[in-house]
């Protein structure tokens, strides 16, 4: 599901930008011409150091978002109401882990190992989507995540799938295909509550009210303040601006929410008939940065759980990696 949405910058950018100055100008222009022609860049191809750095950052954060994003929903697998919901939710969370695996593999083609990426996640050096630093308090939260956060991620991922780096695009194609099923199961569970008993509707409305701001934050700060680089657009690393993606999301999903008789906690939210664009109250961006920097309600818990899993599984990974005993069994 979970496209990183907004991609956070790393503090070590400066040092690598110096390397970029040493890129061979001839190779750089040939590279840029290839991208302009719509060609995909493959792992063995020449690429500018900054392109490699930005892609590792993007894909790695996306991968982290998948495995951290599995946690809030994962805790509801054992509580899902009924066989249908239970099986759908395990399958969905399993897919998210699978997406993490695909994405770590894609990032590894750029030269950073999975282990190094996980270490950077655990040390806090590398980020993941901010939206997963909020708690899933009730079953209704699971349906809001499954419907709306997945929907937001799809907007982001469909855009990124048209990017320039071959392995990332191919991983995203498969991911988007699976995400479209996730969206359906999320939407189905969401509708079930929206059309259910008064208590179920109230539970859903409460979840929607709590998740609205994190959802508005999902695509990142407004374009007027965001320092997204034109270079990244030209290189087709970043495919759409934060505001464009947010607008596309609102356009597709707000009507679906309103149709069900639910409200959104923003009195200014409306589509401007003249411009065709959505207008809304700016969410609290100080809160957004506070959460990114570790101050959200679940940042510490998410990393703690991930650290527990890494520690707990260390002996298994070590034993699996022991080459002297590596074996293969026939699959049939």
């Amino acid at each position: 599901m979970y496209g990183g949405g907004y991609i956070f910058d790393e503090p070590n950018g400066k040092q690598l930008r110096e390397e970029q100055q040493h890129d061979d100008p001839g190779k750089l222009s040939a590279f840029e011409e290839r991208i302009a022609r719509g060609e995909k860049i493959e792992p063995g191809d020449w690429m500018p150091a900054e392109y490699r750095r930005q892609l590792i950052r993007l894909i790695e954060q996306h991968a982290h978002s998948e495995i951290i994003g599995a946690l809030p929903e994962g805790t509801w697998i054992t509580r899902a109401p009924g066989f249908k919901r239970k099986l759908a939710l395990i399958a969905k969370v399993q897919d998210e882990i699978g997406h993490g695996q695909l994405l770590y593999n894609a990032a590894e083609t750029l030269g950073k190992s999975r282990e190094a990426m996980i270490n950077d996640l655990l040390s806090g050096k590398s980020k993941y989507s901010n939206v997963f630093n909020y708690p899933a308090k009730t079953w209704a939260d699971v349906t809001v995540i499954g419907f709306l956060i997945d929907a937001a991620a799809i907007v982001n991922q469909v855009a990124n799938a048209k990017g320039s780096y071959g392995p990332y695009c191919r991983a995203l194609e498969r991911i988007c295909y699976e995400e479209s099923f996730h969206l359906k199961q999320g939407h189905d569970a969401f509708i079930e509550l929206a059309t259910g008993t008064p208590e179920q509707k109230a539970m859903l409305q409460d979840a929607l009210n709590r998740w609205w701001q994190p959802i508005m934050h999902f695509f990142g700060p407004p374009d007027k303040t965001s320092q997204h680089s034109e270079k990244l657009m030209q290189w087709k690393v970043k495919m759409a601006s934060n505001d464009e993606m947010r607008n596309q999301f609102l356009d597709s999903y707000v009507p679906k929410i309103w149709e069900l008789g639910l409200t959104l906690p923003d009195p200014l939210l409306r589509k401007n008939a003249d411009t065709g664009r959505w207008e809304y109250t700016d969410p609290n961006w100080d809160e957004f940065f506070r959460v990114i920097n570790g101050g959200g309600p679940c940042n510490a818990e998410r990393l703690q759980v991930r650290k527990w899993a890494e520690e707990e599984g260390r002996w298994v990974r070590k034993a699996l990696m022991n080459p002297a005993e590596r074996r293969s069994l026939p699959v049939a």
Binding site: I67, A70, L71, G74, I77, T78, R79, A80, P81, G82, F83, R85, K86, L87, I90, A91, V93, Q94, E96, I97, G98, G100, Q101, Y104, W139, A189, E192, G196, T197, E199, Q200, V305, W308, A309, E312, G313, R314, W315, V316, R317, K318, A319, L320, N322, A324, E325, R326, R327, L329, V331
Partner: protein, 254 residues
Amino acid sequence: MSSNAALTDLIIKMADDELVLGHRNSEWTGLGPVMEEDIAFSSMAQDKIGHAWALYRILHENLGGEDPDRFAFMRPESAFKCAHLVEMPNGGYDFSLIRHFLFDHAETVRYESLQDSSFEPFQLLSKKVKGELKYHTLHANAFIIQLSKASEEGYARMQTALNDTIALAAGIFEPSAAHEEELIAEKVYPGEKALYHRWLDRIYPVLVKASLNLPDMETITPVYGGRQGFHTTHLAPLLKEMGEVFNLDTEASW
């Protein structure tokens, strides 16, 4: 044809084992030791829960049982017939893997025996489930052997987990005095004792390959009670958690 009571008893204990172990195994989703294994374990947990669902449906459709969701999510603890093995908390991955290995081989010999059952719904279910279990046991065997042989730590963990788990696993084959003879005579299935011996024949060669010692089965006391509704203290909280949302309103559609 066997009596409904005997068939119902057999189906409930099989289904409850699968539901509760599926629940336990799904607790690893997102927390597995390595991503590829996380995915595999989640997939097998889904299969287990799917098998439970299929069995409750057989009960519902053929034997006048309740709706599967209500039956699974609303029954009191004492009405569950699962073995103590599946109730135990996950602990470390060593225990979870050994449990997976011991249980899935037991499940395999059981479903193999059902392919010739006089109860037709068992024959049909067996066909589907056997195909899945082939991969579950392949997975379990590969892991048991690899982890036992790759390092001293792995070996010690596997052997300790096996020693700690074997009596619980033998409890899967708790006899059912009230119904078993009838089910055997009616060729519904071959009975717990026969399955127990087939199970030992399956696990023994794998343990030998892994250089693990099977404890002397003559000296262990199988952990019985689950089939009669006597459970460990771990089951009640598990069931409470499982039904937490469903029981907010059992008449609502979720």
